[in-house]
């Protein structure tokens, strides 16, 4: 009854599976990818061809210029003799003037290791803040010491000055931790008074015992220059402006009308004028408003104005973060019986700051780029060095591309690095469901 294959006697029966055939050449590998991504339609193909042509032209015109570049010569004339009319960049200006580009033309040569060391230590100091999940929190101690150390390394002079500055902060912190259990306001104002008192006494002691010879020779502020000046202005102003920005943002959110309006007027005024006018103020106007006879460094005046500028922008970013928090968070803090400073410190600000990180980084990157504006008020930062001493010198008059290209690359590396870090941090801090 059963039909077996042998009974039917068919001509051929396959007993095992065929091996898989390779897909057709147009449906695999790079050809498929190119078809889907580059030539999926008429307009797409035209765009691709146009892009390839423009890339080709850029490469063809730039490649010989970079590959033929001259890295060793003393002046642009010598450089052109070496090139003999061939296309090529004169990168010798970078090797020749590298130290000037980095440190300015007045910083003493034999002391270059000091800002260099400060720059390297900046990474050590920033690391525990940037990668707080992965590094021991004890390293934060070094971060706290770093500003004083960096000041001493870069400016030199008597070591007592940064030590007393640090000591003032320590005294302020001790007073604060003693008084804060009674009330926040008492701790806050008490610590300010204690720190100011320490600095006043310290200032008198420092000037009384000023030694003739100091361990590190003092370098005046006007000798700072080059990319170092951009970095100093950038880091100092950004780190100073964050606490001011938080204070301004809280003040603007406050329900005390006078405090609110003081903050609103400050923020809107500073955001409404270009940075360059604030630099004019630092350069020519601020001196009129300081006590007669006082002589502030231009660099300190510039730091004051840039910090004011940055804190207004950061205040707006943080205000956005505060506004983005649901009202329930404020109410929950109140219902726990926390007072205003506690609620802010423990509940509101940690969340609001987390939301504001991308915005704060944007402001920081923008501010770092804006530090080039100081070249307009005749400070010799990187751009000022290039436009001033280097392009004006007889040896290198006319080497535009190499210098500005190098400046652009330096800024690109720093800014792109910071923005990549902020994207990483955002992913790191994301606690919501994905």
């Amino acid at each position: 009854m059963s039909d077996t294959p042998s009974q039917r006697n068919p001509a051929f029966v396959r007993t095992e599976m065929l091996p898989e055939q390779a897909p057709p050449a147009t449906e695999t590998g790079i050809i498929k990818w190119a078809r889907e991504n580059l030539f999926s339609g008429t307009s797409n193909s035209i765009l691709t061809v146009l892009s390839i042509i423009s890339i080709y032209y850029i490469v063809v015109s730039a490649a010989p210029w970079i590959l033929n570049g001259v890295w060793n010569s003393a002046s642009i004339r010598e450089c052109r003799e070496i090139l003999e009319g061939a296309a090529g960049g004169c990168f010798a200006v970078l090797t020749e003037r590298w130290n000037q580009l980095l440190f300015g033309f007045k910083y003493p040569n034999e002391e270059y290791w000091r800002p260099g060391l400060a720059f390297v230590l900046l990474f050590v100091a920033a690391a525990p803040v940037m990668f707080f999940k992965y590094l021991p929190s004890k390293m934060l101690l070094f971060t706290a010491l770093y500003p004083f150390l960096a000041y001493w390394l870069i400016w030199g002079g008597p070591i007592l000055a940064p030590i007393f500055a640090l000591f003032g902060f320590v005294v302020g912190y001790v007073v604060w931790s003693q008084l804060v259990t009674r009330s926040f306001a008492a701790g806050f104002f008490g610590s300010i008074v204690a720190a100011a008192l320490t600095w006043w006494i310290g200032g008198m002691i420092t000037s009384a015992v000023a030694p003739e010879e100091t361990l590190l020779s003092a370098v005046p502020s006007r000798d700072m220059g080059g990319f170092m000046l951009n970095l100093i202005l950038g880091t100092v102003c950004v780190s100073l402006s964050i606490p001011f920005g938080i204070a301004l943002a809280l003040g603007r959110q406050s329900n005390m009308p006078i405090i609110k309006w003081i903050c609103v007027v400050f923020i809107e005024f500073v955001r409404g004028v270009p940075l360059i006018t604030l630099l004019f103020v630092a350069n020519v106007v601020l001196a009129y408003f300081l006590p007669p006879g006082s002589n502030f460094d231009l660099i300190i005046r510039v730091i004051i104005m840039i910090t004011a500028f940055a804190s207004a922008y950061i205040a707006e970013v943080i205000r956005g973060g505060l506004a983005a928090l649901p009202t329930g968070q404020y109410e929950a803090a109140d219902s726990l019986g926390l007072d205003y400073p506690q609620a802010m410190r423990l509940i509101i600000l940690p969340q609001a700051l987390k939301i504001s990180i991308p915005g704060i980084v944007n402001v920081a990157v923008g501010l770092f780029k804006d530090t080039t504006l100081v070249s307009v008020i005749s400070m010799f930062d990187l751009v000022g060095m290039i436009r001033g001493p280097i392009l004006a010198s007889t040896e290198w008059n006319g080497v535009y591309w190499e210098l500005f290209g190098a400046a652009a690359i330096l800024f690109f590396v720093v800014c792109y690095g910071i923005s990549q870090y902020s994207q990483w941090l955002e992913r790191e801090l994301a606690t919501d469901h994905r």
Binding site: S51, G272, Y288, P292
Partner: protein, 404 residues
């Protein structure tokens, strides 16, 4: 039986100013107000002392005195005998000119780059990403100087255009790119030229009315009129007809090489072009990111819903995606315009005579009136910024999602 009684009225004690939350805010506000008043008084007294020591006063009389300097790029009549005030007005107009040009160009660059960054084409997508990252991460001052260098050091001198063996030639025999600026033809209106211009303006109004009519017809009857070609026709045909009927009343004056420089036509200085294009390309990169974020903020469901209604891709973009994306894009776009206006003050780095270059530059240095000049300068930018913010607030309120 219990009776509710009011808690006993506490009499006001001085310590309540610090400890009672009802009164504490008054204490803090009083302290803040006193601190601000003290700061202003301190700065003011310093100012008075410093001015007295330097033998100066605050006065705006310098605005009426002859300026004594020349401005090569100007929109209104001005010479070195004009007053400082007039120099400032020339500067204000120059600021507004470069800000307007840069805003328009940056919008074009930014929208193009932002849309192309979302393109299906891998190569174009990557190219646009490179453009955006390269320009966003390098200071605008460096871009301004680089383009200014191209305009002054790379372009040929006017004498390169001379003779039979000229090394440079004019584009279409009309536009000359030289290191002294770009020379372009200028239109000359003969009698009747105004009629052509008026006709063109009337055509624009006509196109608007045609589009309104077509939309109304579509809503009333469902009949769809063609849009594009009739619009083009209404826009250009009448003007061209009148132009030829009146015997070509508008002609162009071409720049010509005379002596050491080009004469005739309009001159656009290298500094203006450097500032204009640097601001446009730099801000364009930021606008591209805003546009991309705006389009990506519209959920994919909207596109799919529109497609399932049977709309064609072009209509999906115009009727569904863009109206929603614009609500996200426009506020940051306007703040980018604000940034362009403020960044145009970098003109001083390339010698373009905007308000910072005239009032905050030469006038300040010549008269030594630092406080007055800087104050006026800040006031000008403040007025511009606040009015743009006001416009933005009005717009935001207009497009806000109406929550019920």
């Amino acid at each position: 039986m219990t009776t509710m009684t009011d808690p006993p009225q506490e009499s006001f004690r001085l310590s309540m100013l610090l400890n009672d939350t009802r009164y504490r805010s008054y204490t803090f506000q009083f302290i803040a107000l006193m601190a601000v008043v003290a700061l202003i008084a301190y700065l003011g007294s310093n100012l008075v002392q410093n001015l007295r020591a330097a033998g100066l006063n605050i006065s705006y009389q310098f605005l009426g005195e002859p300026s004594g300097y020349d401005i090569n790029q100007r929109l209104i009549e001005y010479d070195s005998q004009s007053s400082h005030w007039r120099a400032s007005v020339v500067g204000i107009l120059n600021t507004l000119l470069v800000a307007f040009l840069a805003c328009v160009t940056a919008t074009i660059f930014g929208v193009a780059a932002g849309v192309l960054r979302l393109s299906k084409n891998w190569l174009v997508r990557k190219l646009m990403a490179v453009y955006v990252e390269a320009f966003r991460n390098v200071p605008v001052l460096i871009w301004i100087i680089i383009i200014f260098t191209v305009m002054t050091a790379v372009l040929p001198a006017p004498r390169a255009f001379r003779g039979d063996d000229a090394t440079a030639s004019m584009l279409f025999d009309a536009v000359a790119f030289t290191n002294r600026g770009v020379f372009i033809p200028s239109p000359i209106l003969a009698s009747g030229g105004w009629i052509v211009i008026l006709t063109f303006l009337a055509s624009i109004v006509g196109v608007i009315f045609y589009r309104r009519y077509a939309t109304k017809l579509l809503y009333d009857t469902g009949r769809l009129l063609p849009m594009f070609w009739p619009s083009v026709g209404i826009l250009f045909l009448p003007s061209i007809l009148i132009f030829f009927i009146l015997g070509q009343p508008i002609s162009l004056e071409y720049p010509e090489l005379k002596g050491f420089n080009f004469q005739g036509g309009w001159t656009i200085r290298g500094s203006l072009i450097a500032l204009w294009f640097a601001l446009a390309i730099y801000t364009g990169a930021f606008i591209a990111e805003n546009v991309r974020a705006g389009i990506q903020a519209i959920s994919k469901g909207q596109t799919e819903a529109a497609a399932s209604l049977g709309l064609r891709p072009g209509r999906i973009m115009n009727l569904v995606i863009l109206p929603q994306a614009l609500r996200v894009i426009i506020p940051p776009l306007i703040s980018q315009y604000l940034n362009i206006t403020k960044n145009s003050s970098l003109a001083i780095a390339v010698g373009y005579m905007d308000i910072t270059g005239t009032l905050g530059g030469i006038t300040l240095n010549q008269t030594g009136r630092a406080i007055e000049a800087v104050l006026l300068l800040m006031l000008f930018y403040l007025v511009i910024s606040l009015s743009i913010s006001a416009v933005m607030n009005i717009y935001n309120n207009a497009v806000k999602l109406k929550e019920r």
